[in-house]
Symmetry: C2
Subunit: 328 residues, 2 copies
């Protein structure tokens, strides 16, 4: 099993990406291909005293596609960027799965047009895994398609369901439609039509509409929505949690008695924070393309990259892609 | 100043509503009109040993419009419900402002078609006030219009701005458009077009797109969005905050040392929780209708009702409605 990792994608590239890849190679026993400036990558490895399990391959390029570049430049102007070459390694069969913390837009464009869609898939979409008090749930689409049609939401439900069954071993995963009320008469045209289509889909366990306030509680395994709403939802969860934790930190440092009390509960609060932390979960998936593509969070540190590589490995080990094709 | 309060709207009606109204009458020196079953209202007052400042008027009815009723029944079948009669009091000039914790849909329909729109307003919208670490911000629309056109979002920006200037005394309030990126090329058709219209609007301080993760941090005074996204956003903030606080509570009760530490910081954590609590802020506003209509949260307790009445009073004291008309 070989995973290709875009060493120059993300806010903390290349250092954290390279370290995360090295850690993952041992922990998950995978061969790693890194794309990007070879000299810099080798310096990071040396400076951090890292080594790799198995066979490390470095594909050299000096170009990088940034968050500010037009995502479609991944196809031509930036086809030889670290991300572009990572896609090439995947498509040419030199790697079994792809991981990048780079531009989401470029990953969606590259996934759709370089890796290509699974036959029958209208639009690939990004599925994020989010923490809930009793485990995790998937939110899909979290930003690939700002504009969605009802049939797309239906397909997202099928793809999420197949993934959760096969990769996460969830039997009969519960699929919900994110809406502004639970009744089937709620929402805009898109929701009304998508509700009907999802209800009629035989091979998924559609539980109906899910209200946003119940989503973080983990009431279902996959929450389906359009990419605009999903992106807003994901970022609000992040923003609210980080605002709250920083306010709690202020409380804990407020006075000497508080500081002493904080010493006692600090460890438990940290483990709660890390439980709610998306970097623990790994990356987001681009579901609907013909090879495993994992998008790590832009602010990924080494641990997040390590977990994204674990996720890419599990994704590649199962025949999710074949099963998605069979279910559509 | 007289505020009419729908005593039978909301999860905790009538007890918490009546108590909240009594408290508000003294704290904010307003006359109160309560609508609903007179016998029950009088029993609540007696059982709780409450009295009212000024002149209490009770408008009797046995009918209530519930969350499950079609909102349009407020116009005919439930026109004599506690909410219907409260609208009637407002329209007939027997009260200066309206407060209800009942069905949002019915309040929107009643506000639009019984109270009627301000001349020039395309669609009234619900503006919620949310807590941020450095104060509050307004989110509009949070659910009146699941489907929006760009001109509606533009008007929401103007209405929010006029309200914040005149009622909250914020000079030149910052208005942002909720979007999935800050660049003006981001988002779906609705966002692209609304961005253009808001940029061209002269009498507001439009700061451009705002990402959802920055919203809870209070980067602007008013966040404009369609009712679907706004409703999802509001409920996710509530859900995430309540999930986090319940997990923190678990940490605090986990062990004896934790329990002892909790005793020290409990008070500060509670005041943080109450700071983040929407019931502190008051109600949401139905902006765009020709009289002050305040919608309290469905789960409002007495304190939330009291604060919603305070908000209704301030709303009625200023000429926001006239100024909205002048600015559109």
């Amino acid at each position: 099993m070989r995973i290709v990792v875009d060493a120059f994608g993300g806010d903390n590239a290349p250092e954290q990406i390279v370290i995360g890849a090295a850690l993952a190679s041992f922990e998950h026993q995978v061969d790693i291909t890194l794309t990007g400036n070879k000299e810099i990558i080798e310096k990071v490895i040396k400076d951090n005293n890292m080594s790799f399990y198995g066979d490390l391959k470095i594909v050299h390029t000096e170009d990088v596609i940034s968050m500010h570049d037009d995502p479609t430049t991944i196809l031509k102007a930036h086809s030889d960027s670290s991300m572009g070459l990572a896609f090439k390694e995947l498509v040419d069969g030199n790697a079994d799965a792809f991981v990048s913390a780079g531009s989401t837009g470029a990953i969606v464009v590259g996934g759709t047009l370089i890796v290509k869609r699974i036959k029958g898939v209208k639009r690939p979409a990004i599925a994020s895994t989010l923490p809930s008090p009793n485990g995790h749930y998937m939110l899909m689409d979290m930003g690939a398609n700002a504009e969605c049609r009802p049939e797309m939401l239906k397909q997202f439900g099928v793809m999420a369901s197949v993934y959760l069954q096969n990769v996460c071993n969830i039997e009969n995963p519960k699929v919900g439609l994110l809406n502004i009320g639970v009744e089937d008469t709620k929402g805009d045209e898109l929701r009304l039509e998508a509700y009907k289509l999802l209800s009629e889909t035989e091979n998924i366990n559609f539980i109906g509409n899910v209200e946003a306030r119940d989503m973080p509680k983990g009431v279902c395994d996959a929450v389906i929505t359009d990419g605009f709403t999903g992106n807003v939802a994901l970022k609000i969860i992040e923003g609210t949690a980080s605002t709250l934790f920083s306010l709690i930190k202020k409380v804990l440092y407020k006075s000497l008695p508080n500081k002493l009390a904080a010493l006692v509960i600090k460890k438990d609060l940290y483990s709660l924070k890390s439980m709610m932390d998306s970097s623990e979960v790994g990356g987001a998936l681009l579901l609907g393309v013909s090879k495993p593509v994992v998008k790590a969070h832009g602010s990924s540190d080494a641990k997040a990259i390590k977990n994204a590589i674990r996720q890419a490995k599990t994704f590649a080990e199962t025949d999710v892609i074949g099963k998605i094709a069979g279910n559509l």
